[in-house]
Structure formats: structure tokens, C-alpha cells
């Protein structure tokens, strides 16, 4: 049994179809890369798999549990780092982690060592009592990753975990990710726009306009399409045109406004 099984998954927003019947599976312990241009439907897929929104069609199972029916079991099985920030910046790093641990049903005896360990992992121990408000973008990102790990999920979803980070921090975060896979057999499902990072993945899926174009290991893809890098494969498969978002312009405007206000 695969740890993630997705069958003919679709998602409509009103009359716009963001995900158009995708099928794939991810094996336990894999690092699975989900690559695609802006608006391809990556975050939408993650939102369905993490029970935040419901699919319009098809089915998905995580750790053997149906994402639409067995939401509680699915939620216990997964950890998430969202594309957009989701920390409480009026709380300290420590408080953010404790809040998380308690909601996931960990007892104090269980969570104290774990919270300390994940803080250590992302090098934030010295900052644990500072308000998140005072953190840099990279520190926030690292804290979000630490939080997603606190309850030892079977599957960790990382939606552009390295977005806007400097090369040093990106390198570090990749170190954590590789360590996690090695030590805990954790499955990692991630999206990224940095094509060099795709090389770390065991397999990648390239998705465009809501459809999966190919799924294979980076080496096989390069061989199959006769390219030197994943970036070249990506551009060959998805073209060089900037995506004209098919969603209504009003929706786009609203999203921009929200993103702007968040800053």
C-alpha cells in the first residue's frame, strides 16, 4: 500500500477547474517533488490532501485513510508547512510549538523533549522565548518546519518551504529534510520553484494547468528528454510562456491584495 494514493482528483472553484483529474501515488519514505508553474494546482492539491478543502471529484487516501471521510485520522498522519505564513506572531516560538503539540494530543512528557529537539534541529533554541514577530523570514520558515515535525507525522507536506530564503538557509533546510527521511522514514511531499532542489527528490511529478504531465525520477526524466538539468526538462514540458491565469482577474486581484496586506 502506498502512503499517498490519489485517484482522478479534481477541484473546481465555481466554473474554473484548478485540478483536472490527477492520479498518482507516493511510497513510504519517498521525497516526492511536485513541480509546476504558478497556478498549476499544487497548493490546491495539498489543501485537498490536508483536509482543508473538499475535492469536487475523485478520491485520495493518506496512510490508508480517506481524506474526505476519515479527516481526523488523516490529520493525525500529516504535518504541514503552508506556502503562506501560518505562525501566530504574537506568541513566542516556544508557545507556537507547545500550542501545536497540545492540539495534536501529546502529553507534556512527550512533547517537552520533542519540542526541544525540533528547535535544536532548526537552530532556534536560543530564540525560543522571542516573539515570532521579531523573527526574520528565514527564522519563521524554519520554525514552521519545526512545528510541522513536532507530532512525528507520517507524511510531511512542504509547500515551497524554501521560498524567499537565502542559499545558506536553503541548504540547511535541505539538510533537515534529508536527515528526516533517513532517521524517521518520514515521507515528504514538497513543491518548489527552485529546480536545483528537484534533484534531491526521489521522484518528481510535473503538473501544469491542473494536469500531471510526467512522473519519474530526476535521472530518468533527464535521460528520457535528453536534457542536462531538471530545469531544462521542466521548460521543455511546460513551455516558456508566463502563465495567463485562467481564474478570473478579480480573484487574482484579491489574492494580490491579501498578499500585499500580509506584509
Amino acid at each position: 500500500m502506498s502512503i499517498i494514493e490519489v485517484k482522478k482528483l479534481t477541484k473546481n472553484f465555481k466554473d474554473f477547474r484548478a485540478v483536472k483529474g490527477i492520479t498518482f501515488s507516493v511510497e513510504e519514505g519517498e521525497i516526492f517533488g511536485f513541480l509546476g508553474p504558478n497556478g498549476a494546482g499544487k497548493s490546491t492539491t495539498i489543501n485537498i490532501l490536508s483536509t482543508l478543502i473538499t475535492a469536487s471529484g475523485g478520491s485520495a487516501k493518506i496512510n490508508g485513510f480517506d481524506v474526505a471521510m476519515e479527516t481526523d485520522e488523516v490529520r493525525k498522519s500529516i504535518g504541514l508547512v503552508f506556502q503562506d505564513p501560518s505562525l501566530d506572531d504574537r506568541l513566542t516560538a516556544w508557545e507556537n510549538l507547545i500550542f501545536h503539540a497540545r492540539l495534536y494530543g501529546l502529553s507534556k512528557k512527550e512533547y517537552l523533549p520533542r519540542v526541544k529537539a525540533v528547535l535544536e534541529l532548526v537552530d532556534l533554541t536560543a530564540k525560543k522565548d522571542s516573539l515570532v514577530k521579531s523573527f526574520s523570514g528565514g527564522m519563521k520558515r524554519r520554525l514552521e518546519i519545526a512545528r510541522g515535525l513536532t507530532h512525528y507525522p507520517r507524511v510531511l507536506f512542504l509547500d515551497e518551504p524554501t521560498l524567499g530564503l537565502d542559499p545558506q538557509t536553503r541548504f540547511n533546510i535541505w539538510n533537515y529534510i534529508l536527515k528526516l527521511r533517513q532517521e524517521n522514514k518520514m515521507t515528504i511531499f514538497m513543491t518548489t520553484h527552485y529546480m536545483q532542489e528537484a534533484e534531491y527528490c526521489d521522484r518528481i511529478a510535473i503538473i501544469d494547468k491542473g494536469k500531471i504531465i510526467v512522473i519519474d525520477s530526476p535521472a530518468n526524466l533527464k535521460k528520457q528528454f535528453g536534457k542536462e538539468t531538471i530545469e531544462d526538462v521542466f521548460l521543455k514540458l511546460t513551455g516558456r510562456k508566463i502563465r495567463e491565469e485562467e481564474a478570473s482577474t478579480k480573484e487574482q486581484f484579491r489574492n494580490q491584495l491579501m498578499a500585499h496586506r500580509r506584509r
Binding site: 483536509t51 504541514l80 505564513p85 501566530d88 506568541l91 500550542f99 497540545r102 492540539l103 495534536y104 500580509r262
Partner: protein
């Protein structure tokens, strides 16, 4: 057990955040005091000739406390919309906890904040020549808990409909201010026009104002005069508010369960 723990966790976050927000701590005192000073001093003399039966400041004081409870409870729960805008709501929504714990935890957080903060307004009592004793304070506090829980539950319903804070101003103008002014805090509803009485009956704040007035003024007002300005016995107010709160909690749990 995990049910209770999830509620406590969500409750605690609300309380911690409130404690850190100095500006909000101070500004929530400003409005009630302003109302008391401006309306109280302005209307006291003109109204003393009318048949109110009690001093206008004394009449208004319990209503102002109830309004304060409502204002803080409302504002604290509506912060759920900020949670949504700043992304933190997602963190709560993907957690393996029943949606009811989220709603109850948030409502209890706002209830705690509003009730404790409104208690501070009691230090004004001597200036208004209302004498209070511990038992009165205790009764008031119990009632503040009920009122703020009902209002918090209502605001959670609003927060689940309202996707962004943009409409907050409109909400205040069209919803919250009318609730303030049609609650009987500023004038007795018994003598108000019929239509106004009808509207005030669906306003939960009305029941809050009416009870707080009875609790605070019972021992220092002529019973006949007090009866003139009260609507119904306290137990009926408790009953009405409890029903209102239950319905609102139920609706917000349903709203939190709904996904796009």
C-alpha cells in the same frame, strides 16, 4: 479528555494574546468612560425632571458595563477573521481536533477576557454613588460570563461568514451600534415605541442590560421605581441568553465544519 485539552489550549492562546496587547487593554476602558462622562453629565439634568425614578447616571451605569462586556467579547471573537487573514486559522483547522473544540475554546477565551476586563469598570461605582458588595460583584460576574459567552458565540458566527476584515466598519455601523443603542442602556425600553421594543427583544444585549441593572441597583433603588425600568425577571433573561448562546454555538460549529 483530549476534547477538554484542545479547548483549554485554544482558550489559553486567546488569553495570552490579549494580555500582550497593551493598546487594546487601555482602549477598551476609554469608550465606557467616555459614554458615562458625556451622556451621563449631558443628560443628567435634563432627565432629572422626567419620570425616570432614578438618577440618570445610575440608570446608565449598568448598561454601560453590559455594553463594555459586549464590545470586548465581540472584538475578541471577531479576531478569528484576523487569524484567517494571517494564516494561523489553517494551523488550527488542520489539527486533529473536533471543530466544536475550536468554537468553544475561542468563545471561552473571549468570555474570560470580556468578563475580567468589565469587572474593572466596577471601580467607578463609588463615583456614581452605587454601593456594591462582594455578593453583588459575584452575581454580576456570573452574568457577565453568560452575556459575553452569548455575544462571543454570535461573533463567531459572523466571523465565519466574514472572510476579510474589510467589512468590519460596515459591520460596526449596521450591526453593533444599533445593538448598543437598542439595548435599553441609554433609555428605558418600557416607554419606547412599540417597533423599538420588538427589535430590542431579539437583541441579546437587551437581556444583559436589563439583568445587570437589576443586580446593581436592587439594593439602592426604590423597588417600584426599579420595576418601572426593568423588562423581565432575571431568570427569564438568563433563560433567553442561554438559548441564544446555544443556538449561536451550534451554528458556528456547523460553519466551522463547512469546507470550500
Amino acid at each position: 479528555m483530549q476534547f477538554i485539552r484542545a479547548i483549554v489550549t485554544i482558550w489559553e492562546r486567546e488569553v495570552i494574546r490579549y494580555g500582550r496587547d497593551r493598546a487594546r487593554l487601555i482602549s477598551t476602558f476609554f469608550q465606557p468612560i467616555m459614554f458615562l462622562v458625556i451622556f451621563g453629565s449631558g443628560l443628567r439634568n435634563p432627565l432629572s425632571a422626567g419620570g425616570l425614578g432614578v438618577d440618570y447616571l445610575k440608570f446608565m451605569y449598568p448598561g454601560i458595563i453590559a455594553m463594555n462586556v459586549m464590545g470586548i467579547a465581540f472584538f475578541s471573537s471577531i479576531s478569528t477573521v484576523w487569524d484567517r487573514e494571517f494564516g494561523f486559522l489553517k494551523e488550527i483547522l488542520v489539527a486533529p481536533v473536533p471543530r466544536s473544540t475550536i468554537v468553544i475554546g475561542k468563545a471561552l477565551g473571549a468570555t474570560t477576557i470580556a468578563s475580567v476586563q468589565a469587572l474593572v469598570l466596577l471601580i467607578l461605582a463609588p463615583f456614581i454613588k452605587v454601593s456594591i458588595d462582594p455578593l453583588t460583584v459575584f452575581h454580576l460576574f456570573l452574568f457577565m460570563l453568560l452575556l459575553s459567552f452569548a455575544i462571543s458565540a454570535m461573533s463567531l458566527v459572523i466571523a465565519s461568514i466574514m472572510k476579510t476584515m474589510e467589512s468590519f466598519g460596515v459591520l460596526m455601523q449596521l450591526f453593533i451600534f444599533p445593538m448598543f443603542f437598542l439595548s435599553g442602556a441609554f433609555f428605558p425600553l418600557n416607554t419606547a415605541p412599540h417597533w423599538m421594543q420588538l427589535i430590542s427583544r431579539i437583541n441579546p444585549l437587551t437581556y444583559g442590560v436589563d439583568s445587570m441593572r437589576q443586580i446593581l441597583l436592587a439594593r439602592q433603588t426604590d423597588p417600584a421605581a426599579l420595576a418601572e425600568i426593568t423588562l423581565q425577571p432575571i431568570y427569564l433573561n438568563v433563560f433567553s441568553l442561554a438559548i441564544f448562546a446555544t443556538i449561536m454555538i451550534f451554528i458556528s460549529i456547523l460553519a466551522f465544519r463547512k469546507k470550500d
